[in-house]
């Protein structure tokens, strides 16, 4: 798992463009958190990607007009667990399932 921190001006659609760069590659989004930060916003993503995809994503994000900074952090595993009370909408999972079970179900 790789953690990405992206700072952006919170203009129309910028967050969606950031997320779309991930979804168009068929990469799951197990963890997303967007928060206001000073005069801009920051979104933190945790993704299962290799080095080549990391580079491509970083450059795609940097090409988005209102993205101001992209940081690639160290690999984290703890954050991969879904937040409490959070269940992926699709595919449906049992109460005790969690994200790994969801992946298995969709494989």
């Amino acid at each position: 798992m790789q953690v990405f921190g992206i700072r952006y001006r919170n203009t129309q659609g910028t967050l969606m463009r950031i997320l779309n760069a991930v979804s168009r590659r068929g990469i799951d989004l197990p963890y997303v958190q967007a928060t206001p930060a000073e005069h801009s916003h920051t979104v933190t993503l945790l993704l299962e990607v290799g080095p080549k995809q990391t580079g491509q994503l970083r450059r795609d994000w940097q090409a988005i007009v209102d993205v101001t900074e992209v940081r690639v952090g160290s690999r984290l595993t703890a954050m991969a667990k879904p937040a409490p009370n959070w269940t992926p909408a699709y595919p449906p999972v049992s109460a005790g399932g969690g994200i790994e079970a969801a992946r298995t179900a969709s494989a």
Binding site: R9, G13, R17, G55, Q56, R59, D60, A63, V65, T68
Partner: protein, 562 residues
Amino acid sequence: MPRGAEIVLGCLRAEGVDLAFGYPGGAIMPLYDALEGSGIRHILTRHEQGAVFAAEGYARATGKVGVAIATSGPGATNLVTGIADAKMDSVPLVTITGQVRSALLGTDAFQETDVFGLTLSLTKWSRLVRSIEEIPAVVAEAFYWARSGRPGPVVIDITSDALKANMDFAGPVKFQPPARPEAHLRDGFPAAVIALLETAKRPVALVGAGVKLARAIEQLRELLDQLRIPTMATVHGLGAVPAEAPYYLGMVGMHGTRAANLALDESDLLLVFGARLDDRVTGEPTRFAPHARIVHFEIDPAQLDRARTCDLAVIGDLAETVPAFSNAVRRVSLPDWRGWKAIAEGPERAETDPRGLAQPTVRLLDELYRRLPENSVVVADVGQHQMWAAQRYRASAPRGFITSGGLGAMGFALPAAIGIQLARPDTTVLSISGDGGFQINVQELATVRRLGLPIKMVIIDNKYLGMVRQWQQLFYKRNYAETDLSDNPDFVAIAQAYRIHGERLGEDSMREVPLGGEAASLLDRFLRSPEPELLTFDCHPEANVYPMVPAGAALSEMVFEE
């Protein structure tokens, strides 16, 4: 006080727009109501896709921003293919769509679609405008992003109440781009590239559309004249390098020349100038240029490393990086690559002349090209005829060969030709389509007729969706599933229904050596006519485009027959 619609048009004029293509409808009616006297000429096409392709043609032929206008809902969704096409091929395009009034947003109102949402992944930038006050700043910003860096499409979706409202208008504003982290050239450029050149034994250069977009053609030609290394072009790079240049090997890629594909495959250093390196250029990406180190000159960092990781990225405007490199090259003594050039350009690698079933069609293209005045524009649709047209193209007009390359959108050529002809009224515009693609936007014959545009339209009629049929023949055991168009209409009669003169030419006419007087006269008359003309040519149903790199194969594995 002016209405929002008038402010939109005033802002467009301030951006230099004097021509727009569109199709009216409910939500955009206020804009159309304000058109007269705005200083903007509006071209009514017969479908919104025709409008957006025409705007693209205008932009591709001039380098200016193309403008397409449509209403909400189906009008906007009909623009989507053109928006995607502009994104893929880096075409500066502003699309303006009407939207339901702001109070109805999100209610599934009549002709409401989420245009902003559905075009997010296809645009460089977009805005949903809900109030009149936003209009001046949004239009200014839209044009800035459409033009800047790697050009591309933007969408302005404006609610009808914003178009109808009134406000004091102090005049168009200028967009001040926010500070952005700039990509920096790697330390040591251009020395690092020269160091790679000095040790290279088999260097090659690959030229893409970016050189044209950056208006760096002359600088690049100067550089290549110094390097004199084997050089090839992508389909969008055609014309950037003179075909008669002694180092030019032709088009590279799936239907590239034997010499270009083999040289690239054997190279040990690849200099890429403004090309995305998509899979139609690279063949199987993991086997692309397997022995080469890659230096990628590119303005858009997002285009790097898509096929293979490059060894050195030279990020920046090619109008600056190419001359900088050229100046540096002038000061050093580079190795002698004559031995490598002799191999790469050797007679055994001469361009394959596609004989057999395709020969009459290829001959027709050669005969047409030979008769075209200098600086003519060829616009090709998508399919087999597109690749034949690209393979045979020899002119060196920078914006002389236009096609839908990245998206491969059938139906592109005819409406694009309208935009091109309007942009360059004194230029001969030759539109080449297949029988399938021509029917996708055939309704634009009405636009051609209304405007009296002297476009020369050629239909290569093989009574199939030819490129799909070729793949079915080669890779699906000749299962020609749903590609048969043998019940095509009479295209000459269709042209006549639109009051356009049409003629038919059989393929036997292109077997005569020298060309028979009747066929020669017909082609002369066709190209010299001051009126729109249509020529339909009977192509053999099973003519194929060769060479061909099969899907998943390396460039070196091109095939020349079934």
